[in-house]
């Protein structure tokens, strides 16, 4: 990853300016010191990733507690336009990473060019490219071009199929486990490659092919000298499009070349009533292919929608009559200008079978890549698909082109195919023969012939054809061509290997004079059998054939394209990786990302949240009993495995009700007071939860975990309100200095994890069906509007509700334990819920964008909502001051209560940080904590800590986190929240 351009906006805000494929800039809230720690991991790259997601509004935001997560950084906020509808942390890989200057980049027009010269190319400057790293077949626009001095290791990679590329160590390649950087790819790794190579780029001349005058004359000719104002209209229209005159280097020419090729095959062009409007039809079995054509045409002209109809055919041949039914898809372009241009470029008017026409002359004068476009598109319509002969599994049918011509026009048909042959020879592709056969008797007594051109099916010829020319406007054939090339290369390599073994057998035989069995043993090679050795010895060496058990094409196809769909990419294997020291400049292009609506996994599932309880107790009243209290809490609130829950095992029906009702279920079952609900987001119940979308396994895992604390960073802590910053607001929240408070941080536990796991598993199988590509399997996803997406959303809402119910039950347990330990009535204790807030959630909210109200889907991943005073979603009792924000720190420092501000609404969609944010890995923390007693260190600070799990204390030690005070200073100084109170822990239970 090359460096990220970071601009300091003010003391607490940094901007990653919009560049490359970012749709919005990135904004990071941090001071200089925090920025230093942020720069240590990969989270800024993830901020950029989020900025590239479609539909993102304003900015990709990061709070000062940001750290490296999956997909989204933890501490990230992003809002998405509801109409473009994306709800996701996902996105496509971020790839500013470089390859060497002479790497060939394949252009969508089928020519290749050295990447270092790509920006010199004059045709269609906004070119659409894809390269080895961009496995998606969808074309993408080049957003920017990058050239830089080498500052990292460079490797040269060679694959089994003989491809090689030179790239920096951080250049990503597509592998079976998503995009991996070259550094992580080694000999033996699989990478996705495409076999199509096209031809080298050449600069076209500016010679005119179609001039304004040509068009005027043609209209006069067609309209029989009575053109009316058609000429004027047509010329005006074409001038508005700025496509006249059409030259060899006009941006429109590559498109027209393809269209001419296709229409000569599967299209037809005519003028209504012979002199009326020009109409051009395009036919294909594949709607996808027609869409590709429509997309090209709509850059200039307006195609119709696609029509679908069933056709009944009746064909009489010399021998028989055939009847069959086909589904035909088609669309038309109703435009005289379009029709005239295609006609001038060589498309005949009317039935092609009953008139003479030739390969247009201008094609012969075109350069190679333009000729290729014409041929590939004509072949996409007319040439037979790559196919192996069933009974000779490894041999392919000869590729074939055929044309129907009525008896008087046969000569011109033969001439046409001979012209194609001439063009093919320029690509070193050999034609086997051109033949004619009487095919059909017409109703008028005449006959039609089929004229065929058959290409040689030698391996070399086939590879040449499919690799250099291939197919345009035909995805299925392009795909088959790529697989077929792999198959042929593989076959060739096996034959070569067998030839080599033959040599070896002969050599052993000559030098060692041993028998076949012993030679076979000494080979130690399993790819040939004993019979092969015997034959070589007794019948002499000869050109090897492939073994009888050679993999069938279909099996090979499945294996080599597994997980790659019909993109035309196949799996290749790296056989050599060498470090290069002789390259000093590398290049990259950054591409647009495809637009997809999806809901991704691994995001909303662990909906943990925080809740704060206030009490009437003073610090003094508690200090004597703190040990009793914490042990009572520790034994009374189950943390994890094996601890018998305070709640007996739940029945399936109870769990379903919890999923639907959330905290409300807990209240209805005696865990707390009705008033509690008023201080929970959405009054404790998330809408849209459908218990039937949750699996049996999730219910099984969840049945004894309601009211348990869990582990890892989850905890329960007894705090003293140590400092009040905003007395008025603190009063409204019920917080008083030196009073005791309880902070609870936990989530949906095994129930949520299992939901995540179940849906990830399904999505990993299904996401490709939605046409979505992902860079990390953890981000498998589905469109939000698909059944699967909806079902996942309802399941996720169930997990949110489960978490809320669980925190409510814990609250009730805390109240009971306090009553027991202090022997006081609930009224005396005054344990009230201050607030319950989730900090891993996506919600639909209304925000102001450019002065207009817009409904957005706001994602807060490791970020907390921070709504200001008077916001309708703030509970009534707090509406005059704003929504409370609970920020737990690490166990040794402190926690904070903040309040939302208008600035947060303006800058961060009403969001702020969620905690301290890790800086140290768990492993590193354990290492550092070795020979230290974290519990003792904490005790010296006046904090009593108990943890059930052995390693938790070390992993969660204060040093593993950023200093919470630094984080909170940034959010309060920048104005996106206001400090209300500081809480100092005196006792902590870790799960």
């Amino acid at each position: 990853m090359s460096e990220i351009n970071l601009k300091k906006l003010d003391e607490y805000r940094w901007e990653i300016p919009k560049s490359g494929k970012m749709n919005v800039p990135g904004i990071i809230f941090a001071d200089d010191e925090l920025m230093k720690t942020i720069l240590q991991d990969k989270s800024l790259g993830q901020v950029v990733n989020v900025a590239t997601l479609p539909g993102i509004v304003k900015a990709s935001l990061a709070m000062p507690d940001i750290h490296w997560g999956y997909g989204f950084p933890i501490g990230g906020v992003a809002a998405f336009d509801i109409d473009n509808g994306i709800i996701s942390p996902g996105g496509v890989g971020y790839d500013i990473n470089c390859i060497s200057g002479n790497s060939k980049v394949l252009h969508r027009f089928g020519y290749t060019q050295d990447i270092e010269r790509l920006n010199e190319c004059s045709v269609n400057r906004e070119i659409n490219c894809f390269n080895l790293s961009n496995f998606d077949k969808e074309t993408a626009k080049i957003k920017f071009f990058l050239k830089k001095k080498v500052d990292s290791k460079i490797f040269e990679v060679i694959t089994m199929f003989g491809k090689h590329i030179i790239a920096t160590e951080d250049h990503p390649f597509y592998t079976p486990s998503g995009f991996l950087v070259l550094n992580k790819i080694n000999v033996g790794s699989k990478v996705a490659v495409t076999h199509f190579e096209g031809v080298p780029y050449e600069e076209p001349s500016d010679e005119i092919i179609v001039s304004e005058e040509d068009i005027i004359n043609k209209i006069k000719e067609i309209k029989k000298g009575n053109p009316g104002n058609v000429i004027q209209q047509t010329i005006k229209f074409l001038n508005k499009l700025q496509i006249l005159p059409i030259r060899y280097n006009s941006p429109i020419l590559p498109y027209l070349t393809k269209l001419v090729g296709f229409v000569l095959g599967d299209g037809t062009l005519y003028f209504e009533n012979k002199i009326g409007k020009g109409i051009t039809w395009f036919f294909s079995k594949s709607i996808e292919d027609l869409e590709d054509i429509r997309k090209d045409i709509s850059l200039w002209f307006t195609p119709s929608r696609i029509y679908k109809r069933e056709r009944f055919h009746k064909i009489k041949t010399e021998y028989n009559t055939y009847e069959f039914k086909t589904t035909e898809n088609s669309f038309k372009v109703t435009s005289t200008a379009f029709a005239i241009i295609l006609h001038l470029l060589g498309v005949p008017i009317g039935k092609k079978s009953s008139q003479d026409f030739e390969v247009p002359n201008w094609i012969f004068k075109a350069i190679l890549w333009q000729k290729r476009l014409f041929l590939a598109s004509f072949f996409g319509a007319e040439m037979s698909s790559p196919k192996v002969i069933e009974e000779h599994n490894s041999i392919f049918y000869c590729p074939m082109l055929s044309m129907q011509k009525r008896e008087n026009y046969i000569e011109s048909g033969i001439k046409f195919l001979k012209d194609i042959e001439k063009l093919l020879n320029e690509f070193d592709i050999k034609v086997f023969k051109i033949s004619e056969r009487k095919a059909q008797n017409n109703s008028d007594g005449s006959y039609s012939s089929t004229i065929r051109m058959i290409l040689s099916n030698s391996t070399e010829n086939l590879i040449n054809l499919w690799r250099k020319i291939g197919f345009e406007y035909n995805r299925e054939r392009s795909y088959l061509a790529s697989v077929s090339i792999s198959y042929l290369i593989n076959k060739g390599q096996i034959i070569q290997e067998r030839n080599n073994i033959q040599d070896k057998i002969v050599e052993i035989r000559e030098t060692a004079q041993i028998g076949a069995k012993n030679i076979f043993k000494s080979l130690g090679n399993t790819s040939v059998n004993l019979r092969f050795v015997e034959r070589t010895i007794y019948e002499g060496k000869r050109e090897s054939r492939i073994p009888l058990n050679f993999e069938k094409f279909e099996e090979y196809e499945n294996r080599i394209t597994e997980g790659l769909g019909k993109s035309g990419f196949v799996w290749d294997e790296i056989i050599e990786k060498i470090q290069r020291y002789d390259i000093d400049t590398v290049y990259d292009i950054t591409l647009d990302s495809p637009n997809h609506n999806f809901i991704a996994e691994g995001f909303l599932v662990h909906n943990c949240g925080v809740r704060l309880l206030k009490t009437n107790l003073n610090k003094k009243e508690v200090s004597d009993k703190i040990k009793d209290l914490i042990y009572a809490l520790f034994s009374g609130i189950p943390t994890g495995l094996g601890s018998s829950g305070a709640i007996k095992k739940l029945a399936h029906s109870d769990e379903m009700e919890i999923s639907k009702k959330g905290a409300k279920w807990a209240i209805e079952n005696g865990f707390g007071y009705k008033e509690d609900l008023e201080h929970i987001e959405e009054y404790g119940t998330m809408e849209g939860a459908d218990p039937s979308s949750v699996s049996e396994r999730a219910y099984e895992r969840g049945k004894d975990q309601v009211g348990t604390l869990g582990s890892g960073n989850h905890f329960l802590e007894i705090d003293v309100v140590s400092e009040i910053f905003e007395p008025e607001i603190a009063k409204v929240f019920g917080l008083e200095k030196d009073k005791i408070a309880v902070l609870i941080h936990t989530g949906s536990r095994g129930f949520g994890y299992q939901i995540c796991d179940d849906y990830l598993k399904t999505l990993n199988r299904e996401y490709q069906n939605f046409g979505i590509e992902i860079t990390d399997r953890q981000l498998a996803c589905a469109p939000i509007k698909s059944d699967l997406g909806k079902s996942y959303y309802s399941a996720m809402a169930c997990a949110v509700n489960y978490a809320r119910a669980s925190r409510q039950v814990i609250t009730s347990l805390v109240r009971n334990i306090f009553e027991r330990v202090f022997r006081m009535s609930p009224k005396e204790l005054g344990i009230e819920l201050v607030y319950d807030v989730a900090h891993n959630i996506a919600k639909f909210e209304e925000h102001e964008i450019d002065g207009k109200k817009a409904k957005l889907c706001v994602h807060r991943k490791g970020a907390t909502r921070a709504f200001p005073a008077n916001h309708p979603e703030v509970p009534l009792s707090y509406r005059s001051v704003g929504q409370p924000i609970l920020i737990p720190g690490d166990m040794g420092r402190c926690s904070f209560v903040l309040v939302g501000t208008n600035k947060a609404l303006e800058w961060t969609f009403g969001s702020t940080c969620h905690g301290a944010g890790r800086v140290m890995s768990r492993h590193a923390a354990i290492k550092q904590a070795r020979a230290r007693s974290i519990a003792k260190e904490m005790e010296e600070k006046g904090i009593l800590v108990i943890a059930r799990e052995k390693e938790t204390l070390a992993e969660e030690m204060p040093d593993a986190y950023k200093n919470i005070e630094d984080v909170v200073d940034v959010v309060s100084n920048s104005g996106i929240s206001k400090k209300v109170a500081k809480l100092k822990p005196i006792a902590v239970i870790k799960g």
């Binding site: 033996g188 662990h606 990993n764 399997r777 800086v919 390693e951």
Partner: protein
């Protein structure tokens, strides 16, 4: 060569398991996962913890997944699921077969363990889930390896 290594990640923990066969890698993966969760050293060693001993009733596990990576993920998730629902701690693993059936991979394995007992077992930390993040299985001629990151 250590058969199980810890991989570092800021928020979570991963393991890299190696072996001379894919079966061995899967066995080591399971060992590694339980090692992250439970302090196995403090456990009693019972003669029943052996596939060869009579009287031992292993949990039989059969899994089918679309690819080898998913198979690793699903194998560990299944063990985690049993651990979480039955509160059983596994100590020994045996993969009888991993094979490709049509377009999917099938695993047949067994695991032996004992019921969780807080007197005997020390839980080190909870694994929330087996993630797909950076999940990879490497299969060479005689070198096999798998990397998994757990959500802690």
């Amino acid at each position: 060569m250590s058969k199980i290594e810890i991989i570092n990640h800021t928020a979570d923990i991963g393991i890299r398991a190696k072996g001379n066969s894919i079966n061995e890698v899967f066995e080591n993966l399971a060992l590694g996962m339980f090692e992250i969760m439970v302090d196995i050293k403090q456990n009693r060693d019972s003669p029943l913890f052996s596939f060869e001993k009579r009287g031992t009733v292993p949990d039989k596990i059969e899994i089918t997944s679309p690819d080898i990576e998913s198979l690793a993920h699903d194998w560990l998730s299944e063990l985690l699921y049993i651990f979480n629902t039955k509160h059983k701690i596994f100590k020994k693993f045996k993969i009888n077969d991993i094979s490709k059936v049509k377009n999917s991979f099938k695993l047949e394995g067994e695991a032996i363990g004992e019921m969780f007992n807080p007197e005997v077992h020390a839980i080190k930390r909870e694994i929330k889930a087996v993630t797909y993040h950076n999940l990879k299985v490497k299969m060479g001629r005689s070198y096999f390896c798998c990397e998994v990151i757990f959500d802690i």
